[in-house]
């Protein structure tokens, strides 16, 4: 009975509830950190400084956030259609295959202004295609999309290992990676771009893919809330019977939603391959697809919320790495535990602080 959940004022719902969730997660993290014998306040300081303390650390935070925005949007679009796409990981990975193939085929012949857009399109197209297969199986064969997308992550991983080791590996290379892309396929780093307009920052992995991610946010927002397809997609997600009544073809809408979702996940490949690695490598998408689920949940499926949640997770990723570097006692696994707790409290336990907030703000107006 939803009515028993008394409404909270909008700003509490959107602003304070997530903050309370994060605070609770950090409280628990602090306890754990104290138990292993580290001063929690010192650790927190290192975490925050590590994520935001210098232009370099900010750069890395934003670079991670870029990936989370892409996968967060991917999960959110599917979610608005009532589909739980757990396959962002595999879609990003196969998107990378498309990106790599396009660049390897074209970078010696075409100028930057053609190679990069084509590579972006290829990333999106391959990501979409990888999502289209589970979508088709759900729409026409009734196979549940949660199961199929998760299995497709494994298929993608195995396929990529095979291709990298046997087909795409650079001749004479000892590691499974392709030849380096030429400079015409490089998305400029943020440092270079800012220098160009006279702002000096420290170098980092951050590149102009961040702008693409922000454009994708605006695009998703327009699509979902300002086009008839987005309207139909959301109708299907809330109430498939009403969508049927309104004349929406549910099978086709399932395909559309999943292809869009997969295409967005493909954005990770742009950030990683064109922006950072400059060659096709293994496992560049690892972890981003799954964290995207938490990002989408925490951002309430809204692009603005997703950007904020992506920033948080980017900061955790970057600050956590610094923390691990400074205090080796806090291992990488600990950092994963911290992320896990934030996900736990803002995902599964999202309603935990609600009763207290209700007691505080029991809405009368």
């Amino acid at each position: 009975m939803s009515a028993s959940r008394r409404p909270l004022p909008g700003w509490v719902e959107i602003g304070l509830l997530p903050l309370a969730n994060i605070a609770m997660a950090f409280l628990l993290v602090g306890l754990i950190v104290a138990v292993i014998g580290v001063d929690p306040f010192h650790a927190l300081k290192l975490l925050v400084l590590g994520a935001l303390g210098s232009s370099e650390s900010i750069g890395y935070t934003l670079y991670y956030a870029t990936n989370f925005i892409f996968t967060g949007l991917a999960v959110a679009v599917a979610f608005h259609a009532g589909l739980f796409n757990i396959g962002g990981e595999g879609q990003a990975y196969i998107g990378g295959l498309g990106c790599g193939l396009a660049v390897l085929a074209l970078d010696r012949y075409l100028p930057t202004l053609l190679v990069i857009p084509l590579a972006i399109l290829a990333s999106a197209a391959f990501g979409a295609a990888w999502a289209a297969i589970p979508a088709w199986m759900q729409a026409w064969r009734g196979s549940h999309i949660v199961i199929t997308t998760i299995m497709f992550n494994f298929v993608a991983s195995a396929l990529m290992v095979y291709l990298m080791v046997n087909v795409l590996i650079a001749p004479g290379s000892m590691t499974p990676q392709s030849r380096g892309f030429t400079a015409s396929a490089a998305v400029p780093s943020m440092q270079a771009a800012l220098q160009w307009i006279g702002i000096a920052v420290a170098p980092s992995a951050l590149n102009l893919s961040l702008l693409l991610a922000l454009v994708a946010c605006v695009g998703v927002w327009i699509f979902l809330w300002h086009t008839p397809w987005g309207y139909s997609l959301r109708t299907m997600g809330h109430n498939p019977e009403a969508a049927l009544y309104a004349g929406t073809n549910l099978k086709r809408m399932t395909m559309l939603a999943m292809c869009l979702s997969g295409a967005l996940a493909g954005g990770v490949a742009v950030n990683e391959l064109l922006g950072v690695h400059h060659r096709l490598v293994l496992d560049f998408a690892a972890g981003y697809g799954f964290t995207g689920i938490a990002v989408a949940l925490m951002g309430r499926g809204h692009p603005l919320g997703i950007v904020l949640a992506a920033l948080l997770f980017g900061a955790l990723q970057q600050g956590g790495a610094e923390l691990n570097f400074e205090i080796p006692k806090i291992t990488r696994e600990m950092v994963v535990v911290i992320q896990g707790l934030v996900i736990l409290f803002s995902g599964a336990l999202v309603h935990l602080p609600r009763p207290w907030l209700q007691a505080l703000f029991a809405r009368k107006g």
Partner: protein
């Protein structure tokens, strides 16, 4: 004061409740005597459901006092209400379809780690209760296999089993057939005679006059009148509710039938398991007439509407809609139907007609989202949609007039008016309407029926499906009766009466 309240099972004092800018209940006070049936009537959005939800602990009042058996109590959640012996039966049943009746009854009150003990004791209790109150249901039947009336009995049993002595029913008869409603009223009388206090919210004055001891009338959030049932009548109650005289008779001119807009020949529909849902249906609806489909619910009316509106393709036979031929090989989807000029008001508004989480403005264009003036160059025009919705609300008196409010937050009758407005406002050539006035107050019923007749007079071909005989009789120019997926008879409006129609609906073939 104490003596005064001694015989009151419930007393509400100066209850006030706002949702944002909507002032739903304004200082409402009422008393419900122990062991009586009290009716609550009022226009759509008058605050009846909200007031009862406050009593049941679903909403927290902003101000006011609740007294049970003369003692002030705190109702912070339904658990508190149940603790004070108050139970509520909602209009939308909260049963697990795949469980048996018994399993549903012990849900949330399993009584121990092992189910067997709880089940056995519930079986005993159930036998006692059904004997005492005439609430017969098979404890081992699956809920999915029960009729709506039986499911409601399970809900009532569930409440009684938790020890409720005060029973609140919110529009219990909206989903029932007339026969089932009569059963329900009998049960309520029996409950009262055994000492249970009953509060009944309904729009049907017939039910109020038949069973209640006292009626409370609400208007715009206030309790405006209270009458002993024996000392009032339908006319006075209607006037108190609406604030003006309500005319029960519709004076409509004879139909001026034009050309055939909708025709079907030997339509059939067989589902995946081979069950014949529709069998050899032939009908025609001409412009300028209202054809009514009468029948006990569950005899194929729902499926007929689905096929005629393009939601489900027929498995056999053919039809012609605005000169477009449709059969199993040439199906048509609801979007194309709308292009042809067919509008459809679905029977089940919450599941089909609207998306509860959408704003009213979004609901007001459901099915028309990709059309002018709501969408140009692939982009939707938010302000145009909002303005359109505001216009519809004005024309059809949807309250509150807030296009930005979520559809779920409108009262049941106002949701219905919004859907009707959406479908009727586009001047369709064919209008398919399922249960046009389900859950709608009498003022609005009068209004909706007049609008349907106006559409007819403007040349629309109208097909109305309703389980309310009285509605069919007052609206239709021709009446078709459905039974077991077939059309078992046709009667011209002038020659129809409740008795012959009732016989046909029960399956006795017309001569």
């Amino acid at each position: 004061m104490q003596e005064l309240t001694a015989d009151a099972a419930i007393e509400l004092r100066e209850i006030d409740k706002s949702f944002g800018s909507v002032h739903a209940v304004r200082g409402a006070s009422l008393r419900v005597e122990r062991g009586s049936i009290t009716g609550i009537v009022g226009e759509n959005g008058a605050g009846k459901s909200t007031l009862m939800s406050i009593l049941y602990g679903l909403h927290l009042a902003d101000a006011g006092e609740i007294l049970v058996d003369g003692r002030p109590v705190e109702m912070a959640s339904p658990r508190d209400a149940i603790g004070h012996g108050i139970g509520m039966v909602h209009q939308h049943f909260m049963l697990v379809d795949s469980f048996t009746v018994l399993e549903n009854l012990i849900l949330g009150a399993e009584g121990g780690a092992l189910l067997a003990a709880g089940l056995a004791s519930a079986r005993g209790e159930l036998a006692r209760l059904s004997g005492e109150y005439g609430l017969a249901v098979d404890p081992d039947a699956r809920v999915a296999d029960l009729s709506v009336g039986e499911q409601q009995r399970v809900e009532i049993l569930k409440v009684l089993l938790r020890g409720a002595r005060i029973l609140i029913l919110d529009e219990p008869s909206a989903v029932l057939t007339p026969q089932e409603t009569d059963r329900l009223l009998q049960i309520l009388r029996l409950l009262r005679d055994r000492g249970v206090t009953v509060v009944l919210i309904t729009h049907k004055l017939r039910e109020i006059l038949a069973v209640t001891d006292k009626v409370i009338v609400m208007r715009r959030g206030e309790v405006v009148a209270e009458r002993r049932t024996a000392e009032t009548g339908a006319e006075e109650l209607a006037e108190l509710m609406v604030g003006r005289k309500v005319r029960f008779d519709l004076d409509k001119a004879p139909a001026r039938r034009g050309e055939t807009m909708l025709a079907a020949w030997h339509l059939s529909l067989v589902d995946g398991r081979g069950v014949r849902l529709l069998d050899d249906i032939s009908l025609e609806v001409r412009s300028g007439e209202i054809v009514g489909i009468a029948g006990v619910s569950g005899n194929g009316q729902t499926e007929l509407l689905q096929v005629l509106s393009g939601i489900r393709p027929p498995t056999g036979g053919e039809m012609e809609v605005c000169r477009r031929k449709v059969d199993a090989a040439h199906p048509v989807d609801p979007a194309e139907m709308r292009d042809l000029g067919v509008a459809h008001v679905p029977e089940d508004r919450l599941r089909q007609g609207l998306v509860p989480a959408f704003l009213a403005s979004e609901t007001s264009i459901l099915g028309y989202q990709d059309r002018e003036p709501f969408c140009h160059n692939y982009l939707m025009d938010g302000p145009a949609v909002g303005k359109y919705c505001a216009d519809l609300m004005e024309r059809f008196d949807v309250r509150p007039r807030t296009p930005g409010l979520r559809s779920a937050n409108f009262s049941g009758g106002n949701q219905q008016k919004l859907i009707l407005a959406r479908e009727m406002a586009r001047n369709p050539k064919v209008l398919l309407v399922g249960q046009p006035t389900r859950g709608v107050d009498i003022g609005a019923i009068e209004f909706i029926r007049r609008e349907l007749i106006k559409s007819r007079d403007a040349g629309c071909a109208v097909l109305v499906v309703s389980v309310e005989l009285e509605e069919i009789l007052s609206l239709a120019d021709r009446i078709l009766v459905m039974f077991g997926g077939r059309i078992v008879g046709e009667v011209a409006a002038g020659e129809a009466d409740e008795r012959t129609l009732g016989l046909m609906m029960a399956g006795a073939r017309a001569a």
